[in-house]
Amino acid sequence: MLDALIQGFSNFFSGAFSTIAVLFTAEFWSKYGPLLLDGTIDTLVMTGISTVFAYLLGLPLGVALILTQPHGIRPNNAIYKVLGWIINVGRSLPFIILMVAIMDFTKLIVGTKIGVRGAIVPLVVSAAPFIARMVETSLSEVDAGVVEAAQSMGASTLQIVWKVYLPEAKPSLVLGGAISIVTILAYTAIAGAIGAGGLGDLAIRYGYQRRYPPMLLVTVIFLIVLVQLIQSVFSHVSARIDKRLDSGHKKGFAPLEMLARFTHTK
């Protein structure tokens, strides 16, 4: 029993070791390097374009929710309820199901159901309601008193949105942006399952279908690095632009500081 367990562990570790060892061979990189580069670019393109379009939809939706809510500056229960309902429906569909369900719509919009282009439509449709809620949460953090003050000065609804809600919520919107991008990035990996390309596609085709662990490992590492980078950049920018904090104690950009710790010599 114990022997079997030890044997199992040693098999696992020697397997893991040989998987890692492959990543240090020139052969691996010359064979799969270009594929990984293309995959990374595809993932970034899908994520980037989808994020932009998802915000073009989600931001106005979030603003509309804030304005029409019962205590908003343009209370309208009908619009508020209908928008809330639509957003909840969008949010409750798992991405992979939504992707399949709207395939005909996707073809209508971008002319194809597959590949990077085919993934962008379901990514936008899936992320926009999520972003609407993120934006709603960020804007609800804006002090109601400040909005009231703007009203007392004769600001129009549009002026309150552009000059009060959005600028005052900017640090929070940026942080929400990181969460949205990381979520979309995760969705692109799922989109890979039905031939959307990108790192998710590589992980499934090589890592899973062809049982080639080094490919699975390297895509996981790439995704972790991407998420860490996105989160660090956005957290840093958010802290930088936030004037509510005492600017005297602003921290530097975390990854660079970490790097500096390694490279610094006395």
Partner: protein, 338 residues
Amino acid sequence: MSESIIQIQHLNKTFGSGDTAVHALEDINLDIKQGEIFGIIGLSGAGKSTLVRCINLLERPTEGTVIVDGKEMTALSEKELRLARRDVTMIFQSFNLLMQRTCLKNVCFPMELCGTPAAQAKKRALELLEIVGLADKADAYPSQLSGGQKQRVAIARALATDPKVLLCDEATSALDPTTTASILALLKDLNQKLGVTVVVITHQMSVIEEICSRVAILDGGVVAEQGNVEEIFSNPKTDAARRLVYPGGASVQQYPVGTHAVRVAFNGGTAYQPLIASLAIDCGVKVNILGADTRNIDGKAFGTMLLGLPDDPNEAAKALSYIRSQPNVTAEEVEYHA
């Protein structure tokens, strides 16, 4: 001075409807004169904040008329109302500055809203910051300022559109007594120099005493009493007024009928204990402390005290003149009509 700038007639405000309706304000009639500092005082929940919001229509009255500077506010279109609000600006208890803008940009904000050219707005904003004594903080963000400084920026911002009326909603309630005094002094100064009519909403008697010429006492959504500050303070006729005027919210029933009393207000002089002690030693007059609501801040006394005077009119007069001779202390005789 005698011309009306704000006329509130038969104003009612009801929240909700049916059985759950809350009558926040009932049949309010006020006439605020051009250039005066008018106080509206009441306890929490009396309807003060709702009333002041009915003046610039942040709250729309359920019934009644609000006329500001000759304009019937409730009859204005949305666009006209936005224009009218430039003449009736407001400052708040929580300052409500834009946290992501510098002080200068905060003061520029109302001018941005009405399309003033940026350079002109900046020049005016710097002038206003100079007036409120914060020219050196133009590039600071609100988070870097103290409460009193934030309120000064808010005042500068409220003055940016050259308003005719400045509404102050509990503007000093979040500030310590020393800062409160300096903000009140600023408001008084602006009232005299610029001629702006000031409407002060507060629950603090000391604020009314300090700067207001006339006052309305709001209680349970109705105006209990209104008139000159001295008259109301020396001779409060309603229970609501007495609760506010007498320290500790004492009700008249607590005092024997015919008590000859004096209401003493301490405005930051020496501590109050020596006054009572020295009154006994120097004049040989013993007074009875009927109620007190005083705070000792940095060795200085703030607040009010109600003293029962001796029955002997000579002794009472002696005590009164002694109290009045003290620095930073005001005293008013109080009568009872129980």
